[in-house]
Symmetry: C2
Subunit: 430 residues, 2 copies
Amino acid sequence: MSNALRIGVAGLGNVGAPVLQLLTRHGEMIATRCGRPFHVTAVSARDRRKDRGFDVASVRWYEDAAALATDPEVDVVVELIGGSDGIAKTVVERALTRGADVVTANKALIAHHGTALARLAEANGACLAYEAAVAGGIPAIKTLREGLAANRIERVHGILNGTCNFILSSMRDTGREFGEVLAEAQKLGYAEADPAFDVDGIDAAHKLAILAALAFGCEVDFGSVHVEGIRGISALDMQFAEELGYRIKLLGIAEATEAGIVQRVHPCMIATGTPLAHVDGVFNAVSATGDFVDRIVAEGRGAGGGPTASAVVADIMDLARGARLPVFGVPAERLARNVPQPMSAHVGAYYLRLMVVDRPGVIASIAAVLRDQEISVEALLQRGRAPGEAVPLVIATHEAREANVRSTLDEIAAQETTLEAPRVIRIESL
Amino acid sequence: MSNALRIGVAGLGNVGAPVLQLLTRHGEMIATRCGRPFHVTAVSARDRRKDRGFDVASVRWYEDAAALATDPEVDVVVELIGGSDGIAKTVVERALTRGADVVTANKALIAHHGTALARLAEANGACLAYEAAVAGGIPAIKTLREGLAANRIERVHGILNGTCNFILSSMRDTGREFGEVLAEAQKLGYAEADPAFDVDGIDAAHKLAILAALAFGCEVDFGSVHVEGIRGISALDMQFAEELGYRIKLLGIAEATEAGIVQRVHPCMIATGTPLAHVDGVFNAVSATGDFVDRIVAEGRGAGGGPTASAVVADIMDLARGARLPVFGVPAERLARNVPQPMSAHVGAYYLRLMVVDRPGVIASIAAVLRDQEISVEALLQRGRAPGEAVPLVIATHEAREANVRSTLDEIAAQETTLEAPRVIRIESL
């Protein structure tokens, strides 16, 4: 076998090290499957001496990843540094500019600069692959770009952040509050010391923006994603969700509507019988609905060195086997410009939880506000009795317009019998 | 756009007609995604006049599908006739022999002749694609051959027959017996008039043999699949499964063991918390476990015109985009010869249901047989009381060797207090 594929790996951290281990352990199998061997010819990282389970003595070492990107003896540049800008972006741009193929696990980079990078890749006859950027080991990109390529996609949605899913699953299992479970997740290594990126929904929004571009053939439009995190979910809401037959999940949802593409990341209540309701812990899941295939759901580990390395190397293998697809499934010039839809136009069912004074007439006054905003009630639960004190009042609505729900809540919040800011969770029938 | 891909479709039935509809409806989108248009230049079917929602006047019509296969103006022959031999096989062989690519939905053909066809394709520089042959719209072939290509696969298993899954789900939901539910499935069109192919597990075994070849890089070995169907499952077993925390599913399971590849299709009890336990009705699911990616599960519609057409056209699109992969992921000459493992060597947990006379000493004599065969008991349930008459006695075992379980059951069946042939369902922790 000849014609070895020469690989340069920039970044030898949590993903880079397993990628090198995988290439070493499965070198022979990969060569058989691809019809050619892989050679790692160059690597780049900060500390040369760190033990990564891989002998770096035999390959060219770069302290400057940007220099690795322009090494003419590297056919495929694997960018595993991370971050939407800075050195990661420089590495990818330099590699593409000289026509080298790039494989990256960098969701922030693709979410922020995907369209420009797709144009750059095509202008130089290079490929840009990013399977590992979305849902770790799940071949979500391949499924959308190839497996379901014959379909007009109507919706793509999923559990895209393992940290949030772990926290929500654990809150449900233990009945504990968000803060306590977050601390445990941090101890277990499932959440970062600064958890904002995960728990505020930004990471999931990066992935959703990428999936939406692929699913609908439009430019990546991260800025238009409506994003809410999970900090506002309480143990009490978990209990009511259970009682109403729902699970609470942080979902990313992108839908093609007549007005344009809607992209949103927020906590959702979904019926316990639906496929995503059973995806617990750090697992991710991606669901796509197409006009011929109907609904496909794929579930797996959304993070971690092994699954991410699996996706990175699969991308390299595709390149080695000669697959050269447009970055988002269609030529960059054919990507549509999205018309973002404001969340106020959203129509759906809502879970509303109020904390109200337990006294006669309170429900009547709330019901009047709902009636005036034309919001009809599917279920109403009042838990406990504490005359003169705060009790939770839960309302599940039929389909309503978000703008009306917001007005309703403003009015209710202003009533003197309402003792806390109302909580809202959208109910999704997916 | 030039360089149109010329397609010939042999067979215009339940799959062929939706394929033509899809190509017509999404022609422009497909051309954009592939960088070239598709032209259906030839079709073949028995009855030219039948309305298929597609105008056949503009294309060449063949009464003889074998003649379509050798039409030099067909680049890709799409075989949708079905059957492991006969005309379908002739069509595929003739097309591959002249170097034309073939796309097929024919699981029986690939299961019986996959290795020989892979050799024929490679010898002539042709591709043979068969995504639609396994699990309908789920891109299971692509996931194994490409998405998880960097992994050594340890196990692949799944719900591979929608008819059986519908029947078992329905038995559980309604408490009714197999025969009654089968009749309903036939009325709904989910089961054939002659249901043997589905309910006896043969269809699932075809698909499993294909998945195993791909997962483990071995020759397709349908003959070595241990196959049991679902006719022996009773409403009573459904109840006991529920009580023990299990669901009953017909699974296909292929595992790499030190001795060789084990391939088996049979009813299984799986814990209610596992991903496949929640896949109900006509849905299929495929799960693969790899050394880096861990477990991936994909779920979707395993049959039907739309989903199958989605898979067929995805294969054509891959060919149009230039993907030319070996049929089973590695060159045919590198496919390993499987060493089949007898089911008697299987080690696992078992659910045993006996119908015994309700009288003192019966349990003691059964327990003695289990002890002598070194089978240890995880749970024992006796339901109801009917002195002197038949009562069910259920035993869930710890891990035991199948040969010992069979000997045990032979001994128990021979006891005069055993009134019916014992029922056995393997318990799988997947």
